[in-house]
């Protein structure tokens, strides 16, 4: 029996998959309650399938997915680390799961405590002074960060329209800038894979609202010229945004707030172990320094005299970005993760992520050309240009890897490396798992000839 047919193909008229309670109040005719005009003519044509068949269908489909619990998933910049099971169990606790978001504060003290402590911990980890947990994903966090920049400049009585973005940036950066009402100007990378300072200087002018920088960048390189970039931005009072997609590499090693950034977003579904869920949901808190704190969206939790409560939006706030307080059940998972990893554990996470990436790079660099020379942070880019000349493209290598039961790396990104393969092993992989991948990559290279 093929249970991977479409659910509509498994449907047969009259089948039921779930029992609904009988109505226990006196019933009145529906037409009388709603009026004929509002009634649907025919029931929505949803499938009609028995419970066990629904289960078999979706279990059969699930088995077609690669997933972190099945094997290695080295997608660059996606941070496919292990998702601890205790996070899932605690997020399902009905004390949180059954909580309506509009309940009065005195009834939701537990939920507010989680949010408050998470805010404090994320601020300590990032080195900033204020944070909003509201954004539902990294891209929405970027959008919030950009709106904060708009508000900052408006508040100073000027209208700035330009955001600078390096050519190695994620696609969400320019897309977020566009919907926040900015135009984007691309800054070139230098031969070392970092921002080209000369190009940056030439693009700094008094229309520049700020610069968005991923650090480490998508090549896995730490942007060591941050002080110089900061200085260049300061000449026109432009803001410095850090895309925190790669925060996993920095835990306990550097804090973006200390580096001189004004604002950053975190991806809790990358760095803080909440699951990717086949594409979401995620969570993208935004942390800022004193320059921007008065503009943050609402729903920040404060604590005073034994009581947790939501602060009011100030007059200068950009306004709400989510119907409620963000993706709470994911905030809760991140909280559990932070409590499990603890003060000393975060640096170990970053160290292991960096060692794992460098180990893989060391094993592969004779066979595939590294995008850039030298050591790397938590991820690295290889080029299959050499392989392409022998007739095999990055895409072919990606597809062949599937036969080994591992997920291919991100290919053809970042755009500035030809035939790019972007590999991020994460800290949770074992040496054996990395060796298996390296052996497979080496075998594929040998198969070309």
């Amino acid at each position: 029996m093929n249970y991977t047919q479409l659910i509509f193909e498994l449907s047969k008229p009259g089948r039921r998959g779930h029992t609904i309670p009988e109505c226990d109040v006196p019933e009145r005719p529906v037409e009388e309650l709603l009026g004929r005009n509002h009634l649907r003519r025919n029931a929505a044509p949803l499938p009609e399938v028995a419970e066990n068949e629904v289960v078999r269908h979706f279990v059969a489909l699930s088995q077609l997915n690669h997933n972190v619990d099945k094997g290695f998933y080295p997608l660059g910049s996606c941070t496919m680390k292990y998702n601890p099971k205790i996070n899932e169990r605690l997020a399902a606790n009905s004390g949180f799961a059954a909580l309506h978001p509009d309940l009065p504060e005195q009834f939701v003290q537990g939920a507010l405590q989680i949010m408050y402590e998470l805010q404090q911990d994320l601020l300590e980890i990032t080195g900033f002074t204020a944070i909003t947990l509201q954004p539902a994903a990294g891209a929405q966090g970027e959008f919030v960060g950009l709106l904060l920049m708009q508000q900052y400049h408006r508040n100073k009585g000027r209208d700035r329209k330009t955001i600078l973005i390096p050519d190695s940036a994620h696609g969400t950066n320019p897309a977020s800038a566009a919907i926040a009402g900015f135009k984007t100007v691309t800054v070139a990378s230098n031969p070392g894979g970092m921002i080209d300072l000369t190009d940056l200087q030439s693009k700094i002018n008094d229309d520049v609202a700020g610069l968005m920088l991923t650090n480490p960048n998508t090549l896995g390189i730490f942007e060591k010229q941050i002080p110089q970039i900061r200085q260049a931005l300061d000449t026109v009072d432009a803001l410095f945004y850090m895309d925190g997609a790669n925060m996993n590499a920095l835990f306990g090693i550097v804090r973006p707030g200390d580096l001189g950034f004004d604002v950053m977003h975190l991806n809790l579904h990358k760095s803080f172990s909440t699951p990717h869920g086949g594409g979401g949901p995620g969570s993208g808190p935004v942390a800022v320094n004193e320059k921007l704190s008065e503009f943050l969206p609402g729903a920040t939790v404060e604590f005073n005299d034994g009581f947790y409560y939501f602060s009011d939006n100030g007059e200068k706030s950009i306004g709400e970005i989510h119907s409620f307080y963000g993706n709470f059940a994911l905030l809760l998972r991140a909280y559990v993760y932070i409590r499990s990893v603890g003060a000393k554990g975060f640096r170990k996470v970053a160290e292991s992520a960096i060692i794992n990436a460098n180990y893989l790079l060391a094993r592969l660099k004779e066979y595939y050309d590294p995008g850039y020379q030298g050591v790397t942070m938590h991820e690295f880019v290889l080029s299959a240009e050499k392989q392409k000349q022998r007739g095999i493209k990055a895409l072919d290598i990606a597809k062949r890897l599937l036969d080994f039961g591992v997920h291919p790396p991100t290919v053809y990104f970042p755009l500035i490396v030809k035939e790019a393969m972007m590999i991020e092993p994460t800290e949770t992989e074992s040496k054996e798992s990395l060796d298996y991948f390296a052996d497979a990559m080496i075998q594929i290279d040998r198969e070309i000839d």
Partner: protein, 443 residues
């Protein structure tokens, strides 16, 4: 525990392969003055047993009660099958299905989800999901302005004020104008709406049932806008579509919704799932991912992400939206929920909501000092009008563990209470509600 597999011995071996003798050599390119010194000031690591105890203890500080709150988050029943499927790590630990060969499970599920939302709404295309109802609505408004090249959005005063706030944030720096269509008796008059449409109007945004629970005259508004340039954006309640007219039948151009009601818990406000559907002619303008059917090289059916040239990873600043991560796992939950309750189940659940909410409304309005604030029909939610402020009444109800509804004081209506009744509420609970309300008001 930092969840690291390698032992000290493994790490030593790996460092040898790398060719360094200490970790610090790997971060030597970070200028020393930028390095963080010392320990992070966060609590020390706890064992799993300790974390489990800690978080359960914190959870116990939240108060449990019988929930009559709605306003965009509802206490509908979640069948066990939904948890069983979404709890499979094949779904929750997978990534966005960019690699179709090893993502057919997600891709087909998204495709089925999209198809079921189309069946539910009568709309032609649906995407793979948005963050939640509010941002889905905001993106619909941006789409309408881009599509019509106009900059004015008419917004029903009966729209959920939380969605309105999000919309205000999204358009804040885009030179778009929001114009409120005032309510009359807690619904919108189509004539009044018509009088506000002009050559700059890009879209009309209505909610059905509206924030106050009442049904709007969507058919008349749909006819009014038929063949005209402004897009008709409808924000609906998926459960209500078990019995009330779907957006596809009243000429909506874009239909959005909060999909939390389809197999997801309230979770203190998130994560939820935005549903986004549109007419076929808008398919190249809609935000987010779309799964489609394709054939593999052997001619077999397969599923892929399609029309990706709209998206940020391809189009960058010219993309239709910046959305990347969406609400994938909740789309799985919604697909399982709709498959399980099926065609008749949705009708039955909708009817239970309808009957029970009317039963409670009838009992409450028998109490002197309480009446319905609006006159139009309502589905599962209704607004009560009191003679004075709602706050003291709510306090009394709360102390009896009945979370009686949302006090509309925060929206400038201190004498009104928004009450939601789902299929989960039993007659016993409804009677208890009425009884305590009676004794609170009358003594």
């Amino acid at each position: 525990m930092p969840y690291i597999s390698n032992s000290e011995q493994d790490i030593k071996q790996m460092m040898e392969t790398i060719g360094v003798s200490s970790f610090n050599e790997l971060i030597a390119n970070i200028p020393g003055r930028l390095l963080f010194e010392g320990d992070l000031k966060i609590p020390k690591a706890l064992s799993e047993l300790e974390v489990d105890a800690l978080v359960n203890e914190i959870a116990a500080k939240n108060k449990q009660g019988i929930c009559f709150l709605g306003g965009g988050s509802y206490d509908h029943y979640v069948p066990a099958v939904v948890d069983a499927i979404t709890g499979r790590s094949e779904f929750y630990t997978s990534y966005t299905p960019y690699q179709p060969e090893v993502s057919q499970g997600n891709l087909q599920t998204i495709y089925e989800f999209q198809s079921m939302i189309c069946a539910l709404t009568g709309m032609e295309v649906t995407n793979a999901s948005m963050y939640e109802g509010g941002s889905a609505l905001a993106e619909a408004a941006l789409l309408a302005c881009g599509h019509t090249r106009r900059n004015k959005i008419l917004l029903a005063a009966t729209l959920n004020p939380r969605y309105r706030s999000i919309l205000e944030t999204y358009v804040r720096f885009n030179d778009l104008e929001l114009v409120t269509v005032p309510e009359e008796g807690l619904t919108i008059s189509p004539e009044r709406l018509a009088s506000l449409i002009d050559d700059e109007t890009a879209a009309v945004i209505m909610q059905q049932p509206n924030f106050f629970g009442h049904l709007e005259n969507m058919k008349t508004i749909g006819e009014l806008l038929s063949g005209k340039k402004p897009l008709f954006i409808a924000c609906y309640d998926p459960i209500s579509l078990g019995i009330i007219t779907p957006p596809g039948e009243y000429n909506a151009d874009i239909a959005v919704a909060e999909g939390q009601v389809l197999g997801n818990r309230m979770n203190f406000g998130g994560p939820y799932i935005g549903l986004f559907s549109a007419k076929q002619e808008l398919v190249r303008k809609i935000p987010g991912r779309i799964a489609g059917i394709a054939q593999d090289t052997k001619g077999q059916r397969g599923f892929v992400l399609t029309l990706q040239t709209r998206e940020q990873h391809i189009r960058r600043e010219k993309a239709t939206s910046n959305i990347c991560t969406n609400s994938g796992l909740l789309a799985v939950a919604a697909a399982v929920y709709m498959s399980l309750i099926g065609r008749q189940g949705l009708v039955d659940i909708a009817e239970l909501c309808l009957q029970k909410s009317h039963y409670l409304a009838a009992k409450l309005t028998e109490i002197p000092g309480i009446r319905l604030a609006g006159k139009q029909p309502f589905f599962k939610e209704f607004t009560l009008q009191f003679d004075g402020p709602v706050a003291p009444v709510l306090e009394k109800m709360n102390s009896n563990n009945i979370f009686a509804g949302i006090d509309l004081a925060k929206y400038g209506m201190e004498d009104r209470l928004l009450v939601a009744v789902t299929e989960k509420r039993t007659r016993k609970e409804l009677d208890l509600y009425a009884e305590i309300m009676q004794s609170t008001l009358i003594g």
